[in-house]
Structures are given as structure tokens and as C-alpha cells.
């Protein structure tokens, strides 16, 4: 029972990381990023290349996150800022779909489509604690996810740039009137979400095999987590991801026949019945 919950949380933490990136971008820039997962996939390949060149694990992680931040900033300046001006929401969605085609194509071209084995973050037998079986890999990924969530929260709620990002999500016009340098905030947001994608990619890669499409499933689950969380709050995304991870583990254990479709049916149901998400809140709009 507790083992199930723990495993669920470990998987859920990965959903949360990806969902946070999606929600961060969606709520501030109004772009639903279908490429969040593939951004992580691309960075996981870079991490793989580094590890193969005997770069140590921690350095590879740091390098990938830094590369992610840089790519995110480039993506915003080079593409998204231009797209924002000229196209509709639908257009922006298609732009991110195009991005998935490009990223998967590039990864496939450089690394091939044969699944690769990504070295695990840590090795060793699972730990036992009060009768719960704790996988080391899961423990590490939970810990990393926890630290990242904490850092992101401090940034979003305690720093000017974070508060400004949240204000942009609520009312861009007002943010502009206050003189907030919106350009920089957008760069910050895309950089942060690309960085998050990289971390998620590295967490997932050892669990699945590394191939150009390996993040698609996670991307889908992250969408579901984001929808559960109400699409507009980063807190919701984290909780939604963890909840989905746990629910999935229970369903897979007790009713394995429906484990693949369960979350998909759940998301459609939530969208139709509770469009604000389970934890979502209706924005406290002015009268």
C-alpha cells in the first residue's frame, strides 16, 4: 500500500516537473506547449552524449539545465516573440507542434531511433524502510523534484521577477502599464520551462529507454496533470502530477486492464465536468 503510494509519488514528481513547465508557459504567455516533453527528450540526449564522454553525473545535470536555460531564452527571442505578434492561439499551438517535429527529427538524425540505455542516476538494491520498498532511483528523482519545486516556488513567490511573471499571467496590460520589462520576463519563463524540461528528461530517461519519442507519454500525462490542477496554477500542476502518479499506480495494481486508458478517460471527464480542474480556482475577477 505505502509502496504503491511512494512509487506513485515518484512517477508523479516527473509528471509534475513537466506539467509545471507547461503551466508556467501557458498561464503567462498563452501558449500551450506541446513540445515541453520533447524539449526534455532533446536535453536527455545531450546528457547521454555527455555521460558517454565520461562526464560525471552531477556535472552533466548542471550542464543540461544550463543548456536548457540558454535554449529556452533563444527560443523565446528567436521564435516565440515573433510568433506571439503574428498568430492566433491556434497558430502558436501549431508552432509548438512544429517544434516537436523538429526536435524529434534532429534527435533521430543525430542519435538514431534505436532505443538506448540511459545509465541510472544511482545504483544499488532498493532500500527497505518500515516495510516500504524504496527504489533508489525513485528516491533521488523525488528529492531532485522536491528541491526544484522548492526553488521555483521561492522564485515565483518571493522575487520581483517571479511575482512579475505571475502578474503577467493575470493581466499583461496592467503589467505593461507598471513598466515591468515584459520581454525579460518572457525570456525568464521560457528559459525556466526549458530547464525544467531538461530535468524531467534526465529523470525519465533511466526508467524508459532513450529514443526520440520517449517523452510523448510523459507529455500526455503532464497535460493530464495540468488539467487536473486547473491549468492556471503551478501549485495545481504539482499536486495534479503527484495525484495522477498515485492514482495510476493504484489503478495499475488493482484494475490492470484499464491502466493505459485510465488517465485519458479521466482527463476528458475532468475537462467536461470540472473545466477548472480539481484544485483549480476561478480567478477572483473584479466585479
Amino acid at each position: 500500500m505505502w509502496t504503491l503510494i511512494f512509487r506513485g509519488l515518484a512517477t508523479g514528481s516527473i509528471y509534475s516537473l513537466t506539467a509545471m513547465g507547461i503551466v508556467l508557459v501557458l498561464s503567462t504567455t498563452n501558449v500551450m506547449n506541446f513540445a515541453q516533453g520533447d524539449m526534455g527528450m532533446f536535453l536527455a540526449f545531450i546528457a547521454f552524449a555527455l555521460l558517454m564522454r565520461h562526464v560525471s553525473y552531477p556535472i552533466a545535470i548542471i550542464a543540461v539545465v544550463l543548456i536548457g536555460l540558454l535554449l529556452g531564452a533563444l527560443l523565446e527571442r528567436g521564435l516565440m516573440s515573433k510568433v506571439r505578434k503574428t498568430t492566433s492561439h491556434l497558430g502558436m499551438l501549431i508552432v509548438t507542434l512544429a517544434l516537436t517535429m523538429i526536435l524529434e527529427g534532429l534527435a533521430g538524425y543525430f542519435f538514431g531511433t534505436t532505443p538506448l540505455l540511459f545509465p541510472p542516476l544511482v545504483q544499488g538494491a532498493p532500500l527497505q524502510f518500515l516495510g516500504i520498498i524504496l527504489d533508489r532511483q525513485d528516491l533521488v528523482s523525488l528529492a531532485i523534484a522536491g528541491v526544484v519545486v522548492l526553488i521555483l516556488f521561492i522564485v515565483l513567490y518571493r522575487t520581483k521577477i517571479g511575482i512579475a511573471s505571475r502578474s503577467l499571467a493575470e493581466d499583461e496590460y496592467a503589467a505593461r502599464l507598471l513598466g515591468i520589462p515584459i520581454k525579460n520576463i518572457y525570456i525568464f519563463i521560457w528559459a525556466a520551462s526549458f530547464g525544467l524540461a531538461g530535468l524531467a528528461g534526465i529523470m525519465v530517461a533511466p526508467k524508459l529507454s532513450l529514443e526520440p519519442s520517449f517523452m510523448i507519454v510523459i507529455q500526455l500525462k503532464a497535460f493530464i496533470a495540468a488539467v487536473l490542477g486547473g491549468m492556471n496554477s503551478v501549485v495545481g500542476a504539482v499536486v495534479g502530477g503527484l495525484l495522477l502518479g498515485v492514482l495510476e499506480n493504484f489503478v495499475a495494481y488493482y484494475i490492470p486492464q484499464i491502466k493505459d486508458s485510465f488517465s485519458l478517460i479521466l482527463v476528458v471527464a475532468v475537462l467536461l465536468v470540472l473545466p477548472e480542474g480539481i484544485f483549480g480556482k476561478r480567478a477572483a475577477r473584479r466585479a
Binding site: R166, S167, E170, G179
Partner: protein, 241 residues
């Protein structure tokens, strides 16, 4: 201090302002009156750099600001408190205020925060609540307070009385007047509530279809039959244009 000369502004092919000239001095409150669609909000948006004029010059203390980005206009001390308040409803009152002082140093912001909370004591009680939970009047105070956090030399107020009960409007207006006089900044006030606006302002301009139709000292405007007509719609208000 704020000087606007021959300002023309267009939306695409449609011109909304046809050559407007306005001045506001330090410590002076100037109201802009006019019906919906007359171009009042367009004027404020152009001053704050949201819209770019086709021709014309806007200067603040002699510096041309009409080609600047909004963030630079704000740095020059021109702060626009928009119609409908536009507070950030899901952010706390404190976060709303912090964003008003985005460019200030920490020390300066602390000082401003104290000042704003002393001016609007209601906000102090609600500092950690979500701004969306405030009443209409409190939200307007928050919007004003957020504007004051930016150390304005020139405050642009768009319809501060919108949706507020008369007594609340009076309270807010008297605070604005007091602040402008004591802290020596200019106020450009756009208002539908013409009588109220003329009560607190020193001078006023009447904007009709993108042109200044009348201007003068507030007392004069208040007595002017044209102004009365504009607001209660006598016959042929438009015919003399």
C-alpha cells in the same frame, strides 16, 4: 511639466485623436471630460507609451517621451492607473504593491510602501489577502497605491470612480487632491462623472470625437451650459462641430 502638442493617434486607418494639445503643471489636477469613444483612454494610453502617436510631441520636463517603451516612460515618473483598475486579482495586496515599485531600490520601496499603507490604512489590514477579494473601492485604492509605489511625477487616472458608490468616490478624490498638493505631482484625470471631476480639478478639457472642444478653469466649465448639455444630452450637441 507634462506637455502634449498637436497629438494625432490612429487605430489602423481610423484616426482617434485629431491634434490635441494639453499641459499639466506640477501639483495641478487637470480633468479630461468627454463621452464614451471620445478618445480619453486613447490619450492616456498614448502618453504611457502603449500606443504610438502618428504625429505630435509629448514631453515630460522637457524630455520627449512619445517614442519610449512603456517601461522607460514609467521610469521617467509617468504612471498610468487604468480604467477598470486592472489589479492582479490572484496576487496578494502586497505583491500588487511590490510590482508598482518594480524599478525602485529596496530601501525606496520600503519607504513608499509605508507611505501607501499610511495613506490607505485599509490596505494594511488586507496586505496578505488576494487582491480580488477586496471591495470595489478598496481595489481602486490598491490601484492608486500601486501607482504611487512608482514615485510618480505625473499620475494618469482613468475613470477612478467607475462602479463606485458616490461616497467612496468622494473619499478617493479627496485623497488624490491632497496627495497632489502635498507631494507636488501632476494628475491628469479622465472621468465620466463630470461634476465630481470638476470639483477636485484645477482645470479641465472637454474632448469630443477626438478633438478638444472646450477648455478652461474648472469653475468656469462647471457653469458652462455646453458641459451640462454634453452630460444630459441637449439637442444638437454634435451639430456645432
Amino acid at each position: 511639466m507634462l506637455k502634449i502638442e498637436e497629438l494625432h493617434v490612429s487605430y489602423g486607418i481610423i484616426e482617434a485623436l485629431h491634434g490635441i494639445s494639453i499641459e499639466v503643471e506640477t501639483s495641478e489636477i487637470v480633468s479630461i471630460l468627454g463621452s464614451n469613444g471620445a478618445g480619453k483612454t486613447t490619450l492616456l494610453k498614448t502618453i504611457s507609451g502603449i500606443l504610438k502617436p502618428t504625429t505630435g510631441v509629448i514631453t515630460v520636463d522637457g524630455v520627449v517621451i512619445n517614442s519610449m517603451e512603456t517601461s522607460n516612460v514609467v521610469k521617467r515618473g509617468v504612471v498610468h492607473v487604468p480604467e477598470g483598475r486592472h489589479i492582479f486579482p490572484n496576487l496578494t495586496v502586497q505583491d500588487n504593491l511590490i510590482l508598482g515599485g518594480y524599478f525602485g531600490s529596496a530601501a525606496q520601496n520600503n519607504e513608499n510602501m509605508m507611505f501607501v499603507l499610511n495613506t490607505f490604512p485599509v490596505l494594511r489590514q488586507r496586505l496578505h489577502q488576494k487582491a480580488g477579494m477586496l471591495s470595489g473601492g478598496e481595489q481602486q485604492m490598491l490601484a492608486l497605491g500601486r501607482g504611487l509605489m512608482g514615485n510618480p511625477k505625473m499620475l494618469l487616472l482613468d475613470e477612478p470612480s467607475l462602479g463606485l458608490a458616490p461616497i467612496v468616490t468622494s473619499e478617493i478624490f479627496s485623497i488624490v487632491r491632497k496627495l497632489a498638493k502635498e507631494h507636488a505631482f501632476g494628475v491628469l484625470l479622465v472621468e465620466q462623472n463630470a461634476r465630481k471631476a470638476l470639483e477636485i480639478s484645477d482645470r479641465g478639457y472637454v474632448l469630443v470625437n477626438g478633438t478638444i472642444e472646450l477648455s478652461g478653469r474648472s469653475e468656469e466649465l462647471r457653469e458652462n451650459p455646453e458641459v451640462q448639455k454634453l452630460y444630459l444630452g441637449g439637442k444638437n450637441v454634435d451639430s456645432h462641430i
